[in-house]
């Protein structure tokens, strides 16, 4: 019998979202255990640089900001693919979340009254910061926003917020079992009972029974191989949710490419570089973005900037290098002091990794996989579809405030806000539920994991983990990238299916005791391939262009046919994902112009009223559990009209 733990709340993932859920549950007096692949402070949240959006309106260029303006920016950013009620919940809570983190010790940068020099749209301007706001939390400019809204601590925002959050976890005495990987969700009769996990220290299997289980394992960018993501972002939590056969993943085809991954190494340099006035230049050192996007220039949404950069490279205007074609990011004009204080991580990354001094030199960049808008489909409480007691928050979830494109600064904000909102619902649910412990269930799921492990030791050995992983990554990068088309995607489906079949022939050669890194990687691979397949299947089926999903053969956004969310399930014994669709949520502001990107759209024939009338029914049909507050009740209808000229 393996070691068995029991707890009220089990959180899988110790990044910001997971820890915030844990803290909320602990405040309710519940027992919480967090499982994490790595020590909590190593989580990828720590790598978020630029900041966290919240409509505080303290900075001079943020004047007049409010949650509704934030709502509009986020919705347009999502290309109307997001759930407007969830966006509303998010924008209303973001200022609270940020102030709360100030209370708990985050040293947010503050307003300094008097004249300040900024670079705005290519020009150096002097702006008078309000003395009355002196000492309040300030903000910087980010892409796709009408106001300066991104609160920050230099360019180490994620680090500061994560350390403050983990301090709270320590303060509340919340147990963290680090180097522990959840391999299977125990479930039966539509209820979740906890997980089977494997210790990455000694290789032993553990059983965790819980009243509620929260998946907060972040994104899965590593399936693209070339990604800004940390090496642990392999979609472990998403894969085990998909393995249940009943929980759907939402909008997996919505994959974000960040404009400024450095070349080589694919490490991110923050959007704050452009927010603070940096330029994108081509091989002639010509600033090309204003030609494509006269209004927003370098600060259109990420999907748009990445597309424009790729278009520009296709015209032959990229810079050739031994590491592939790239463009330049120029922050030299911001000056040494600014670069070495507010963009200090960027300075360090450039100096250490590519030997470029950004004070004097141009930084080689290209669009690089960065964020996963898709994830475990949950209702507005964070409760997973079809499986009571399973929750998800943060990048791992499709809550769905980002739709088909996330704005910079909205993910860090989401982790903390969703952690707060979902954490409350998790606590309420856990207080009502009994802890169900079943040794039959534990044995069944433990045996399944043991069988998987044994099969990997006994495999034919004709395939290697590293080899298949690379093939999978190459298919995604080449055929399911920024610009997509039916031929490539059809081909990608075929290739991925073959890779999936071949993954059965892996053999783990090393029987070394302990963590066994080869076994760890082999155990993850099949789940990663399944996630890759949900992306390719979703992208092939979606015959329109929306946000980051760009189809060369269907260039228009089609609100008539495709104002829907893709749901991908992987039924037991199936060999490929099964797709279904649901409405994106109650529409408050009907689909319209984003104000950047220049794409066409096909209007809805249906009225908003009749679209909205079907939302609840169709979402429930797809497995949406009843949220604490009825669907649509938190939307604040029509408020957006006040903010539209």
């Amino acid at each position: 019998m393996s070691d068995t733990y029991t707890t009220d709340v089990l959180v899988v993932g110790a990044g910001l979202a997971g820890e915030r859920v844990a803290v909320e549950a602990a405040k309710y007096g519940l027992n919480v255990i967090i499982l994490s692949l790595v020590p909590p402070r190593r989580s990828h949240s720590s790598a978020a640089q630029g900041g966290m959006q919240a409509a505080l309106g303290n900075a001079a260029k943020g004047k007049g900001d409010n949650p509704t303006v934030h709502f509009l920016d986020t919705l347009k950013g999502s290309d109307w693919g997001g759930d407007q009620e969830v966006i509303r919940i998010f924008v209303d809570n973001a200022p609270i979340a940020i102030r709360e983190m100030a209370h708990y010790g985050v040293p947010w940068n503050r307003v300094k009254g008097g004249p300040a020099q900024y670079f705005i749209k290519g020009k150096k301007v002097e702006v008078e910061e309000d003395f009355k706001k002196e000492g309040l939390i300030t903000s910087r400019d980010f892409g796709g926003t009408a106001k300066w809204r991104t609160c920050y601590t230099a360019d180490g925002t994620g680090h500061s917020v994560l350390f403050a959050m983990d301090n709270l976890v320590v303060q509340h005495g919340i147990q963290v079992h680090d180097r522990m990987e959840a391999l299977s969700i125990m479930h039966g009769d539509g209820k979740c009972y906890g997980v089977i996990a494997r210790s990455l220290r000694d290789g032993s299997l553990k059983t965790y029974f819980s009243k509620s289980t929260v998946i907060a394992t972040g994104g899965y960018g590593r399936i693209y191989g070339t990604s800004t993501n940390a090496v642990i972002n392999e979609g472990t939590g998403n894969a085990i949710a998909l393995d249940t056969g009943i929980v759907p993943l939402g909008n997996m085809e919505a994959v974000q490419f960040h404009p400024t991954g450095i070349v080589p190494t694919d490490i991110l340099v923050t959007e704050g570089c452009r927010g603070d006035g940096g330029f994108l230049l081509d091989k002639d050192e010509y600033r090309f973005m204003p030609d494509y996007e006269p209004e927003k220039q370098e600060l259109a949404s990420r999907d748009v900037v990445s597309r424009r950069m790729t278009e520009h490279i296709k015209k032959g205007l990229g810079v050739d290098s031994p590491f592939g074609t790239h463009l330049w990011l120029d922050i030299r004009h911001l000056g040494e002091k600014h670069i070495k204080t507010k963009l200090r991580e960027v300075y360090d990354i450039c100096m250490y990794f590519i030997g470029v001094d950004p004070v004097k030199d141009l930084i080689p960049v290209r669009p690089t996989q960065h964020y996963s808008m898709g994830g475990i489909r949950v209702n507005k409480d964070g409760h997973a579809y079809n499986l009571e007691g399973l929750f998800s928050a943060g990048e791992a979830a499709c809550w769905d405030m980002h739709g088909f494109n996330r704005l910079g600064g909205n993910s860090l904000a989401e982790t903390v806000v969703a952690g707060m909102v979902v954490g409350k619902r998790v606590a309420e649910y856990s207080l009502k539920r009994n802890l169900d412990i079943s040794s039959t269930l534990a044995d069944k799921f433990t045996r399944e994991v043991e069988d998987r492990i044994n099969a990997l030791f006994k495999g034919k050995g004709t395939e290697s983990v590293a080899g298949l992983k690379k093939e999978m990554a190459d298919v995604l990068t080449e055929k399911v990238g920024i610009f997509r088309n039916g031929n490539d995607l059809g081909e990608a489906k075929k290739l991925l299916k073959k890779i999936y079949d071949r993954s059965k022939n892996i053999k783990v050669k090393s029987t070394s005791k302990g963590g066994n890194p080869e076994l760890t990687a082999a155990l993850r691979l099949k789940g990663m391939i399944k996630l890759a397949m949900t992306i390719a299947w979703g992208a092939y089926a979606r015959k329109e262009s929306r946000g980051a999903h760009t189809r060369e053969d269907y260039p228009a956004r089609d609100d008539n046919k495709w104002l829907v969310r893709t749901l991908a399930r992987w039924p037991e014994k199936a060999n490929e994902p099964v797709l279904s669709y649901e409405p994106v949520g109650i529409l408050d502001m009907p689909p319209g112009e984003r104000g950047y990107g220049g794409a066409q759209s096909i209007p809805m024939k249906k009225s908003v009223k009749s679209y909205n009338a079907s939302v609840e029914k169709l979402q429930k049909k797809n497995g949406c559990l009843d949220p604490a507050i009825k669907i649509g009740k938190e939307i604040k209808p029509g408020l957006w009209k006040k903010e539209v000229k």
Binding site: R41, S160, N167
Partner: protein
């Protein structure tokens, strides 16, 4: 033509009773801008799947990959092979519990340190949802951030003479954490409380001032300044007779 590099890597698996600690050699062709992160992954993918090491962000941000590289504790991800001769020796960080080969348990040590130091804002004030945040001077915010930048990689402790002979010593990372909370007005702990916490041999008076920590800190934290301030404050508190 690239060089052929020889990696001499410490091997030991504490979970295998038959494991013997040893140095194992691997050869690798050097490519431009090769760093230790890519080198170790190439070795593991192509030569030895059992090799254990830790990387997470691979961008010098998360602090996972500190190890001894040719005798010096540093972050492996941002160390280029071109900075060395063709023989590169890799050892795990000393001081911390060994989990296998180059992997050590910094996580549990830092969690325990955080518990000892009560590394959180101590305040009686409750957070109020409807109130505007308390004001703070931007210069002070920057100063707090300066100390808050510690990534707890463990290099300072691995390089510390005191820590290596006295395992209860809080090390530079621990003392820096104290310094960070001392200057934060949101933390209401008194000088007397700080005195109890750090005016000990495990704390600020255990430091013998060799400052290897400052030399090896990958984040260039101003450790000397911080220690000086903590020490001066604690001396003052001690001499004032309030203790």
């Amino acid at each position: 033509m690239g060089r052929t590099l020889t990696f001499r890597i410490f091997r030991f698996n504490p979970y295998d009773e038959d494991s013997v600690s040893r140095i194992q050699e691997y050869q690798l062709e050097e490519v431009p801008r090769l760093n230790i992160f890519n080198a170790l992954n190439l070795i593991r993918d192509d030569q030895d799947p059992t090799l254990m090491f830790d990387f997470v962000c691979r961008a010098g941000i998360c602090g996972s990959c500190a190890m001894m590289i040719n005798g010096r504790p540093t972050l492996a991800c941002r160390t280029l092979t071109s900075d060395f001769s063709s023989v590169i020796e890799l050892f795990p960080l000393p001081f911390f519990k060994l989990l296998g080969d180059l992997s050590v348990d910094t996580g549990v040590w830092f969690r325990e340190a955080a518990e000892r130091l009560e590394s959180w804002i101590h305040t009686d004030e409750e957070f109020s949802v409807n109130e505007t945040e308390k004001r703070m001077d931007n210069e002070l915010a920057n100063k707090i951030y300066e100390s808050d930048r510690c990534i707890e990689c463990g290099c300072c402790i691995a390089g510390c003479a005191t820590a290596n002979v006295y395992p209860d010593f809080l090390g530079a990372a621990g003392l820096n954490r104290i310094g960070r909370f001392m200057i934060d007005p949101r933390d209401e702990r008194s000088n007397e409380t700080w005195f109890e916490l750090v005016s000990t041999y495990e704390g600020i008076f255990g430091c013998i001032g060799m400052m290897a920590c400052e030399d090896v800190c990958p984040k260039s934290l101003p450790l000397l300044d911080t220690f000086a301030k903590v020490r001066r404050l604690m001396l003052g508190t001690g001499l004032s007779g309030k203790k």
